[in-house]
Symmetry: C2
Subunit: 410 residues, 2 copies
């Protein structure tokens, strides 16, 4: 499948009769939309001269203070002057890559990793090297082996990109002990860490994990976003960076978009000032936990033997691995025919891995739809297994070419 | 003055006692803010699930149709599928430069040219070559001479960047005859034209000029924005590009920011659907015309002999040239001390030209403040002339180093 075919696939997947476990869209309808609308309307009427005007390239000063309060929930102590507001965390990722990466430089990333990051790294011709992960997140020993090998090969490693908490796409979380070890390795091998943390506050059980940035303010650039805790359509994210990097980020942001939207920034500022945002995040957590439970229950009950999957403690995603001999990408059109959609795993690797894997998300469909989607998916897999059993191989020929998912896959 | 000094200067310039003729901020307070707020509030309450959600990377389909209606006012016939919505026209400029320009490539631009474009070109290490202009805009003969010379030198010209109508910073407009000739030259020398047209609908006298894009859909990429016709804080701009370029733009936009804000896009869509936007533009035109008149009257009455300036037929800016021997950049701190601010001309050139020039804008201050600002500025210039007369030279020593204006200068 080439990119255009994947897009076509998603166009079909968005039909109402298809249960889409493919998208990563937050369930924004859970927000009190009347209140939100009233708040924004009043903001414009009262303060439109500011909310509709150009702003500074670094972002609204008061909002940057509020962002520091949000990060404090994960143990991060930061100063508003080191925060740059960006058009989603994606823009921060783009600007950081623009600043640091020359063509051919190595960027390390978990395998699998966030598709939007891989796309950005590719656009700057970075050479992505994946580091193995398991249920406890990135494996420090694998990281060290990779660093040693790359050093021996004389390669330049610009940074490690990681989503340590409730990872997209794998749904796993880096353990506390591994966080410590990761920071030690970063210091020892003198590498920068880009900590991308969109889901950190969406844990289902415990208090928020301590961010990597909480324990290293010089070697970690932290990326955050309100896309999942407030609303993705506002496109308000941020980077918290060491001072020297921050200055470069502001100049790069200015060159890229002049300044962020005051309209969006002030909506967030107002929301954080006047609305019960902590309680709203709690509601989101309960909502997504119910959906995660629905998905895991259905998987436990329905999936044929040989399938394995992760058990996320927060965030949006489960990573499912098919039995030996099956191919998630080749299977995708047949799943769509059975009215269920997922994202084939190869999109989350820069090196062609992930053929047996898929990302299935529980963030958007309601619990009953999730159960129905898993039921259909289990049927498709069983069918593939029967075909494999009968003919000794299925659909590998249909699975070739480029397969970057489109923008629908966040 | 280095960049940080310019920023410090602008910080002082924003004090209430200073008349700032420096900024390019539209006067958004002229919008009916209560209605705008009510409209947005209702939009969120009714359709928040869309307005607060991720969108496609190309931009909202209905908005792209409306954008075609807006461009039709300038004779442009376009299809919504060839429009990409961007974070202000600045993002379009950034993405286009990213797609086309390799380090060392030549980009042609009027001299003077828009400072935000020069910043973007510099960030991609383009080599900007300025082409002379006069009251009738870019001079075709100068363009042809430049093209011939560059061809002889074996240089690669990637595109001509032009603001043909009510130019920023010079306030001049390319004549109809020169538009025809410009398109002929573009075809003859096989170059692309980036037509940046933020002010096209803000003419004070006649019907809108016919856009370059209206007469060449293959060689012209048109950039537009709602920053001046609705509100800059929404950050909604666009590019209209030939089909092959459009596809690349969408991929680049996706990599840069995933997608534009639905919140902003749907606010614009709703505004264009439900509000009297043509009448509002007419109101903006009357408002800015009154301010342009106030500025030109004051200049005619108060400026000392030897100063010359342009007479804009629309837009936001007058370009003023000081008498021989004066230096606008060196004079800037002394003007601030006299409580008037402008942008020194050197920021609008990539080659160090513009020392005797300045941009003075009439878009934001009210007419009385404009007159007062010009009065103060005339006093400062007279003082400089007296000093020059007495000592034979003023302040040249103070005027060295980098001088890129900050984000305040749109």
């Amino acid at each position: 499948m080439v990119a255009s075919e994947i897009r076509a696939l998603f166009a079909v997947a968005s039909r109402p009769e298809v249960v889409s476990l493919a998208g990563g869209m937050p369930y924004v309808s859970a927000l009190p939309l009347d209140e939100f609308g009233g708040m924004v309307g009043e903001l414009i009427a009262r303060n439109g001269a500011e909310a509709l005007q150009y702003a500074s390239a670094q972002g609204d000063p008061r909002l940057r203070e509020q962002i520091c309060d949000v990060m404090a929930l994960e143990g991060v102590q930061a100063c508003a002057d080191d925060v740059v507001v960006t058009v989603g965390a994606q823009q921060a990722l783009d600007l950081i890559t623009r600043i640091f990466v020359n063509p051919g430089d190595v960027v390390l990333a978990e395998g699998p990793s966030y598709v939007g990051a891989l796309g950005t790294f590719a656009s700057y011709q970075a050479d992505v090297v994946h580091v193995a992960m398991d249920e406890g997140g990135l494996i420090p020993e694998a990281l060290e082996e990779t660093l040693v090998r790359l050093r021996r090969e004389g390669r330049t490693v610009k940074f490690l990109y990681t989503v340590p908490t409730f990872q997209n796409p794998a749904g796993v979380t880096l353990t506390a002990a591994r966080r410590t070890r990761l920071l030690e390795l970063a210091a020892e091998y003198d590498i920068l860490i880009i900590e991308d943390n969109p889901y950190g506050l969406l844990g289902f059980d415990d208090e928020p994990m301590r961010a990597l940035r909480a324990d290293d303010s010089e070697r970690v650039i932290y990326l955050g976003t309100f896309s999942k805790t407030i609303a993705s359509g506002l496109r308000v994210g941020w980077a918290l960076a060491p001072h020297a990097v921050r200055a470069k980020l502001v100049l790069a942001a200015e060159s890229a978009v002049l300044c962020h939207s005051s309209f969006s920034q002030l909506a967030v500022r107002e929301y954080l000032s006047t609305q019960p945002w902590r309680e709203q995040i709690k509601e989101f957590r309960l909502l997504y936990r119910e959906r995660r439970d629905a998905m895991l229950d259905a998987l436990d009950t329905l999936m044929p033997e040989g399938c394995t999957w992760t058990r996320p403690g927060g965030g949006f995603f489960v990573w499912l691995t098919l039995p030996e001999g099956l191919d998630a990408k080749a299977m995708a059109p047949r799943a769509i025919a059975e009215r269920v959609a997922y994202v084939p795993g190869t999109g989350f690797y820069a090196d062609g891995n992930g053929r047996r894997d898929m990302r299935i998300s529980y963030c958007y469909p309601e619990p009953d739809r999730i159960r129905e989607g898993v039921r259909r998916l289990a049927g498709v897999i069983e069918n593939e297994l029967r075909t494999l059993d009968t003919f000794g191989g299925v659909g590998h020929r249909r699975s070739s070419g480029v397969d970057t998912p489109g923008p629908e896959v966040f």
